[in-house]
Symmetry: C2
């Protein structure tokens, strides 16, 4: 359909392909764009305004007339390079509203909505047009006016960190003030996306964004009285409040609302992936989802150090590293790395991450220093060539580590040389890190400049056939569809917090899939087996989990890149349990969200890529629970053997975390498994055709 | 000598090696460091305070006691890789005062003074010490309290540009408000260095800095009532007023005061070079001072364009350049570049600069856009390989051009690839440009981050055996001693302003050597022969010079890199005059400042490197003058032939600029040349042994 100018425009209403959702667009009497979203008869979003404010020129937020309306249906199925399912259906109704501002030189903007059965995505598009070529977004005023005081799972709107525990509260109670800021102090009611909401009338609503490219990240300001949310973009370094420097034709990322009356359907949604562009990497044969171990947890628990020496006040260019006095605790020594390579080879783990291999760790963080690392110079006790030879002889890849210390200008200057070094020395993956305040000074982790850096790095690593895992970047928005070599990100509070802080509550891993993981895989680093007494400096510290739950996380916390994070010596104490980590895939043909409730529990079953094997993970919060899993996804008529790794008798995260039991049983498509989860516990199950 | 603690310390007084200057250091009763400088009995600087203020910690500006005093004499002679003289004597008395703050954890700072017969340099040094490792300079409070209301030659304290005409006024009259800002609006009484001053009692005083590395540039705030000057460092992007992020041990640049009762001695001073570090480039055989022509002035006068197409709204990554519609005015075509190569080869000019060869010029400036140029992709009509072959066959080098449009992050990402491209395609020199607002956004051309960029670029080009000429950088501070591949900078108002603006007054080139050139060579681009009717869009415009003066500038405006800036067709009209440009060297064994008065006139004689040949340049402001030159520097007993390129009868910059006469005469060491300079005119003389 198509319509001429109309002031005020009649509401344009579209329905999702299966009629579950209804979206209405309407201009206000003053020409402000607004929308509403309904799930059946229930209101998801009340009338909410849309608009962009521009720096030093009239905003794209009012005075609009409708110039044109286009509506189409799209239905196609595509296959990701790797993922939770083999095929993804992309089925939506699209409404594209072209708006014009007669009083502002006829400036045009397109609002494009894509309405799926499980949610909506919409974005602002500024077409090529006279008088609006280069412009600066001063603010985006996208509203999500919620109809009631929903329960929310939120973290503070820190422009530089996502590494917070989730607070569960009513919207009216959102207050970040008591929460200790990690990087920058957040505003009292500014929170981050993905934001998970639950209404009293049983709707699960998730608000986030898709395809964050060349723009700053969207946070949300909560009106605790009206339950309205308003977008808050991350500003740049100029102090002018500039949010994005754009050149038409250009568009914003998609603003996404996933909605269902069933929590599992939120987790199963592929809406965010569908709103991202197809892969820009054409030859993908070199991209390999993988598990890895690494010289890492021993530093987290202070058994070893990243730094080679305890001499501080180091200058990258002026230090003779081989003259420094070694501290005797350096983790990334040739001998220690070989120990990990041996363990990985013995247990069919393809990767070994090594942190602290390169010079600069003596005083690497907290000084806002530009020249910290060079990414190519090993410490004197790390023999690059010998380890390249040794790893290759064992069929293991060493994973490169590039900690930038937030000094991104320094990293960018050296990226070409660093990736050349990787190619020359057999490294196929890199873990990057952005700990600390960003250089260019004044820029934020989540601002446009850094967003462009992450995307550029994904492209740059792809050009060198390198897979990348980013720590401390902006939280993902589904760009792993476009850059399938961008395997994972951290961008949340990972398992590591159990090593150096008060840790993560048992509920944490039941919330993450509904929040952070909506945008993409997380390198959570599960698999801690020694759950007490691991931190020499804090002997009372423990991980808020049972051992069996750590196994379950390999299924519930989807990632194509999964670390077995604990030390080889701790795994050697429980090699029967480690067998699950050996077995569990990192790439899947199918996924069933069996049961889920954010903050409470989560059970997921997944079919291994190209195999008739299934894996089940089930986790709970601090409450013991029974979870039942109907195995009706198994091939009818086939008998399978299930190996069940469950919490042992008397297990609980706080009193007895390492009690587990492993039992085998024959199952088929008619079996219902009953899994007993301890407090803070979980269960992991592998299901393979019997007799194989 | 050495002394223990003393509060208040007795004044420490030192005399320069030849007793011309006296410097006194003393702590004030509250422990503030102060100094005074005298030239004989005349006061150069009255008691003036010194100090650094630090961010978030006690300043290094008061509460000091003297912990130690060291005094030494240094006398050595060194040879620059290229320059105005063959040998440079570095002769000074040094006073190093170690200060300690008992009330601030014993923090220490060293004030190091080097007193020469022609001035003083001093700097702040923060030694390695407990509790003061990483620190941020919030402000430097260095005072230069002048004893009277001197005449000053000044430009506004713009943090992003030096491209201003000089104002000559009393200090009491300094007011930048009426001056049109080029980049950022300057504060009303903030001016730049090098600042040239002349006292009513006949002292010439120049204030600047030497060895600006890892620090922001120093500007000066003028107290128009007391005639006190106070240092004003350029702030960074954070908005916190941070001026420099430092790590001890570290020191500031040297603050320099050159002083004499004879103006020529200011120009002859090597104080700033002496305060710089020796060359970091060990193999210097590839560094070649040189003259060049180029595809450049034709764009300045709008005969040709940098851009290939007139299509605007270009995106670097998304544009198919060979599908753009050519505008037919593109300067950097293969054919046109060959024309310049032919001219250069015919006239023994080694270099041909080509601007506008690479894609991105369609809308390259003014948009604060990050991805403007890639530095490796030629326009469709510029054949890199063919021109490489052709230039080599003619014995000519093409000079690379890297305009960054101020987008320095983009340039830094691409520098490795750009220099590799240059090495592969036979380019040995690059002219860089920084037009427009800097990215990282919020940083300034003259701030610490950019200062580090320029120095890093000097080192990086040296590593690739590339000579560099920087346009729109911070003004030089003698770093060409340390990086002799850093041949020249613009960083001032060059000849180009005669093409696109109201131009430079005749006095301009008599002031530049006393100001901007104190820090290092300038790529002024002299040699314009067509002085009227060159600018199609402004037919009345003319260069404020005679043709003969343009020749004289090759001697008076020292640079190892000198452009013959006009078009081949304009030179072909005056090939007899062009002969001087062909002959004149760019590297010298000796230099005599024959006569000089800032703003009025300047006569310099120089001996060609390794040859018994001399060249004289003499220029005047808007007044006609007679200048006499005693040729007593010639080898006694030898007869030379002098070729004198002088203003012709009736010549004047405004009425008859191209009237010139060329005459030859025999001269010897007893000859006195009398040069008649027209209004806005000059004279150039080459003197070679007769009969050769």
């Amino acid at each position: 359909m198509s319509a001429g100018l109309s002031v005020p425009a009649l509401a344009q209403t579209i329905h999702s392909p299966g009629n579950k959702l209804t979206l209405s667009f309407q201009l206000s009497p003053s020409g402000e764009p607004t929308y509403q979203l309904h799930f059946g008869a229930k209101t998801v979003v009340n009338t909410s305004k849309l608009g962009l404010l521009l720096q030093n020129q009239p905003g794209l937020d009012q005075g609009f007339q409708v110039a044109r309306i286009d509506s189409t249906v799209h239905d196609a199925t595509w296959q990701p390079v790797w993922g939770e399912v083999k095929n993804i259906r992309n089925h939506y109704k699209e409404l594209a509203v072209t708006l014009a501002q007669p009083a502002a030189n006829g400036h045009r903007m397109v609002l494009r909505f894509r309405l799926f059965d499980d949610g909506v995505g919409f974005r602002y598009e500024v077409p090529q047009q006279p008088g609006l070529t280069y412009f600066v977004v001063q603010d985006e005023k996208t509203e999500f006016n919620l109809p009631a005081n929903h329960k929310a799972f939120w973290i503070p709107g820190d422009y530089d960190s996502n590494e917070y525990a989730y607070t569960t509260s009513r919207l009216s109670e959102v207050n970040t003030t008591p929460i200790k800021a990690i990087e920058k102090k957040a505003a009292p009611t500014r929170i981050q996306t993905p934001l998970m909401l639950k209404s009293d009338d049983g709707l699960y609503v998730n608000i986030h964004e898709a395809a964050l490219v060349n723009y700053s990240a969207m946070m949300l300001n909560v009106d605790t009285k009206t339950f309205g949310l308003t977008s808050q973009l991350v500003p740049d370094a100029t102090g002018t409040g500039a949010k994005a420097y754009l050149q038409a034709p250009e568009h914003t990322p998609w603003r996404t609302i996933v909605v269902s009356n069933k929590a599992p359907e939120v987790l199963a949604s592929k809406l965010i992936l569908n709103l991202n562009e197809p892969s820009k990497v054409t030859d993908t044969g070199w991209i390999k989802p993988q598990k890895f171990v690494g010289v890492w947890w021993e530093m987290q628990v202070s058994k070893a150090s990243w730094n080679y020496s305890d001499t501080t006040n180091i200058k990258l260019a002026g230090t003779e590293w081989n003259k420094l006095k070694p501290n005797g605790r350096h983790g990334a020594t040739t001998a220690n790395v070989k120990r990990y390579i041996d363990f990985a080879a013995a247990h069919h783990i393809p990767g070994v991450l090594v942190e602290g291999w390169n010079v600069g760790w003596e005083d690497w963080v907290g000084n806002w220093k530009e020249e910290v690392f060079d990414f190519v110079t090993p410490y004197p006790d790390f023999d690059v060539n010998e380890l390249q030879r040794y790893a290759a002889s064992k069929g293991v890849n060493i994973i490169m580590h590039h900690e930038t210390s937030g000094s991104v200008t320094n990293y960018e200057r050296r990226q070409d040389a660093a990736y050349r070094f990787m190619n020359e020395h057999g490294y196929t993956s890199v873990k990057t890190g952005y700990v600390g305040r960003i250089i260019p000074r004044g820029e934020h982790h989540d601002g446009q400049w850094m967003v462009n850096h992450y995307v550029r790095t994904a492209q740059k690593t792809a050009d060198s056939h390198i897979m990348v895992d980013m720590h401390e970047p902006v939280r993902p928005t589904g760009l792993h569809r476009t850059y399938p070599n961008w395997l994972a990100c951290e961008a949340a509070r990972g398992n590591e917090f159990n090593a150096f802080s008060e840790g993560n509550l048992p509920e944490h891993e039941t919330i993450l899939p509904f929040t952070r993981l909506m945008g993409g895989p997380m390198d959570y680093t599960p698999g801690i087996f020694k759950l007490q007494g691991y931190a020499a400096s804090a002997p009372q510290r423990q991980v808020h989990t049972t051992l069996a739950k750590q196994l379950a996380l390999y299924v519930t916390m989807y990632s194509p890149l999964q670390m077995a994070a604990d030390l080889p010596e701790n795994y050697n104490e429980h090699l029967d349990a480690f067998r699950f980590i050996e077995d569990v895939p990192v790439d899947w043909d199918d996924t069933r969200i069996v049961a889920a409730e954010p903050g409470d529990y989560l059970t997921i079953a997944r079919q291994a890529k190209g195999k008739n094997e299934w894996y089940v993970g089930s986790i709970t919060d601090e409450k013991a629970r029974t979870q039942t899993v109907k195995l009706d996804f198994l091939t009818p008529g086939t008998t399978y053997e299930a190996t069940i790794y469950a919490d042992g008798k008397g297990a609980s995260w706080d009193k007895n975390p390492t009690a587990y039991q492993i039992r085998k049983q024959k199952v088929n498509s008619k079996t219902t498994l009953k899994l007993q989860l301890a407090a803070g516990g979980g269960a992991a199950v592998s299901i393979k055709p019997a007799g194989k």
